[in-house]
């Protein structure tokens, strides 16, 4: 079920947004409207939905409207038109009080430049959401202390914000959002102000936390690698419009247009694509009892050099045999079982290409891909790997 559903969301900045809205509906582009009226269309007619427990990444270059979009989701920006459903309630219809309750209980935000209160200590910052809600001093202290521990800041409770490093500051920002135990967390380029090493730590920490918490996260970034690393699904935003929404693998494999193609060109594909995405499903499979002669014919017909020996009942892989081995078998009157190689390599279908490359160096045979039941589902050659990387 979708947690957040956004329909035809448009945000126009300027004095007379409603007037401009007609132009947007007529299909005028952002530049045309800006030239004509001097007003900026932040985002226009955006549609998407976010599933419960999903990390949804919105990626775009600066000026693409991504910050505008995320600020619409908790109504820091009031949308000009469109609907935002959270749990099937249109939050745009909320009055002030309902909106406050929504922000206090359901949604929290992490900011690019942390947005921490420099006049408060670390723990007072984390307590803020709870304080606003009206929790007692003891309650909010206990919750905040626990949350700080969860983000790895135990013992820093009484420090001033100015005494922390960038990475620690954003941990506080994250803790402040988590302390409220919201269902949805909005993250507006939370790691882009951090240096690369710290960013990597924060990535793994976030993935770690998320695997335990299963929150619905909307994450904004301009960094493709970050988007594909963290996102279950990624939406690419350009000039205020969504160009493509898909899983990272799909976007790399099937970019919607040249813009996306260009975008994903620099990406480290070996960290995104998995065995399953690049393997060849077609493979010559036979049992070990097969006549070598027949096996040779099968391989020749398919124009391949290798055959996979499968246990018929369980679909489990038993070995690999080359066409040369088979020829030898025919000559020496041996069976497949005697000559097949069992020193083949196999990987699970969810293994990233990056790891497979290392394995490929160690073996001269194709790599077998197995599913959760260890059944043979495809093969990967060195050539396949190279092709997947360009």
């Amino acid at each position: 079920m979708s947690k957040i559903r956004v329909e035809n969301l448009t945000k126009i900045f300027g004095k007379h947004p409603k007037k401009i809205l007609q132009n947007v509906e007529k299909g005028m582009t952002r530049e045309e409207i800006f030239k004509m009226t001097g007003q900026t269309v932040g985002i226009s007619k955006v549609n998407f939905s976010v599933n419960e427990g999903e990390t949804f990444v919105i990626m775009g270059l600066s000026g693409s409207g991504k910050s505008t979009l995320i600020r619409c989701l908790n109504l820091l920006n009031k949308p000009t038109a469109g609907k935002i459903f959270v749990d099937d309630e249109n939050i745009i219809d909320y009055d002030k009080k309902e909106l406050r309750e929504f922000r206090r209980n359901k949604i929290a935000m992490v900011f690019q430049h942390f947005g921490l209160f420099s006049h408060k200590t670390v723990i007072e910052n984390v307590e803020f959401g709870l304080e606003v809600k009206g929790l007692s001093k003891e309650e909010r202290y206990d919750i905040s202390k626990e949350t700080l521990q969860a983000v790895g800041l135990k013992g820093w409770e009484n420090f001033r914000i100015s005494e922390l490093s960038g990475g620690m500051k954003q941990r506080v920002g994250l803790a402040r959002a988590l302390a409220n135990d919201p269902e949805i967390i909005l993250m507006d380029e939370p790691f882009s102000a951090l240096d690369p090493l710290i960013r990597r730590d924060m990535h793994s920490e976030l993935l770690d936390l998320q695997s335990k918490m299963k929150k619905t996260i909307v994450f904004i970034t301009h960094d493709v690698n970050e988007a594909f690393k963290l996102g279950d699904r990624v939406a690419v935003l350009k000039d205020g419009e969504i160009v493509q929404i898909d899983t990272p693998e799909e976007i790399i494999e099937n970019p919607a247009n040249d813009y996306i193609k260009n975008f994903v060109r620099d990406i480290d594909r070996s960290r995104i694509l998995k065995a399953e995405n690049v393997m060849k499903k077609a493979a010559i499979k036979f049992g070990k009892a097969l006549q070598p002669k027949i096996a040779i014919t099968l391989l020749e017909e398919a124009d391949v050099d290798y055959g996979f020996i499968i246990q018929r009942e369980t679909s489990k892989l038993e070995g690999i045999i080359t066409i040369d081995d088979l020829a030898l078998a025919v000559k020496q009157k041996k069976t497949i079982e005697e000559l097949m190689h069992s020193d083949y390599k196999a990987v699970h279908k969810d293994v990233y290409i990056k790891e497979i490359i290392e394995i490929a160096l160690d073996t001269k045979y194709p790599i077998a891909v197995l599913n959760d039941n260890e059944e043979f589902i495809g093969r990967i050659h060195r050539g396949t790997l190279l092709k997947a990387l360009i």
Partner: protein
């Protein structure tokens, strides 16, 4: 040559004059009660200051100076304060402090809320700004005239004139301070469902405090400066001694009372300033 045509001449001053006259006649009761109120507070303050033994005051100044500025400064302030007493201006100094304090308190009570309102409401800011400009650039002697008309002679009109003169900095700096609270911090506060009042009290005012304290310091210094001028309408204090010295061309008295004002100003300035910097967060 081209002389300015007389037909265009119009005495705006007359309008203001009749307005002030109208005020004095129709709102005499109102101004009288303000006068009584301010006078009551003033006298009480003066009483308290006079009741505290001189060495306790010096001791307090030493301790505060030591705490916020360091030992050397503390000693320096102590010596300055002692010298004022040595020159024989202790009582006048107490009176001056009472007037300054009263004017500053009134300025802050009016100025901080006004500053906050004008940070929030652009229209208020637009109206207020030229008024503040006028209040600051109008020669300070000019305030004495309506002050006398409304409150008569004495300490109360002095407080009134001093307040008008010292009000602008605290309003301006409060507005500036609230406006320059980082947008992200305000957004953060809102995003957690804080009401506008919660955002103001828990985020904006604490963030603005260092700048507001600068405003408090400036307001205090303006009040110090004005208090001398206000002595012309009969407020007793250090300024009055300066005035007498001018009338008598008494160099010794002029120097002593002038020096006392300088000492007092330095002490007040340094103390309020360093209290302000204590609030800096990063």
């Amino acid at each position: 040559m081209f002389e300015f045509p007389q037909i265009f001449e119009f005495k705006i001053g007359k309008v203001v004059e009749s307005f002030v006259e109208w005020l004095t006649i129709n709102y005499a009761g109102f101004f009288d009660s303000i006068k009584t109120g301010i006078l009551f507070v003033l006298l009480k303050m003066q009483m308290i200051f006079e009741w505290i033994p001189w060495f306790v005051i010096i001791g307090i100044v030493f301790l505060v100076g030591w705490k916020v500025k360091g030992l050397k400064s503390g000693i320096a302030y102590t010596i300055m304060l002692f010298l004022i007493g040595v020159m024989g201006y202790w009582d006048q100094m107490i009176m001056t402090i009472s007037i300054v304090l009263a004017a500053v308190i009134i300025s802050l009570v009016l100025g901080i809320p006004l500053g906050i309102i004008s940070a929030y409401k652009k229209r208020v800011d637009i109206i207020l700004r030229p008024m503040l400009d006028a209040m600051q650039t109008m020669p300070s002697f000019v305030y004495l005239i309506p002050a006398i008309m409304l409150f008569g002679l004495g300490m109360v009109p002095a407080v009134f004139a001093t307040t008008i003169y010292s009000l602008p900095p605290v309003i301006r700096l409060t507005t500036l301070a609230i406006n320059s609270v980082s947008k992200e911090m305000k957004e953060a506060s809102q995003s957690f469902g804080a009401t506008p009042l919660q955002t103001l009290i828990k985020v904006e005012i604490p963030q603005a405090l260092p700048t507001i304290m600068t405003g408090v310091n400036q307001t205090t210094m303006m009040a110090m400066a004005m208090v001398v001028v206000a002595s012309m309408i009969g407020s007793k204090g250090l300024g009055y001694s300066v005035l007498i010295a001018i009338n008598r061309t008494d160099i010794a008295m002029g120097f002593e009372s002038g020096l006392s004002i300088v000492f007092l100003a330095i002490i007040i300035d340094r103390l309020t300033q360093s209290i302000g910097t204590k609030y800096k967060y990063d």
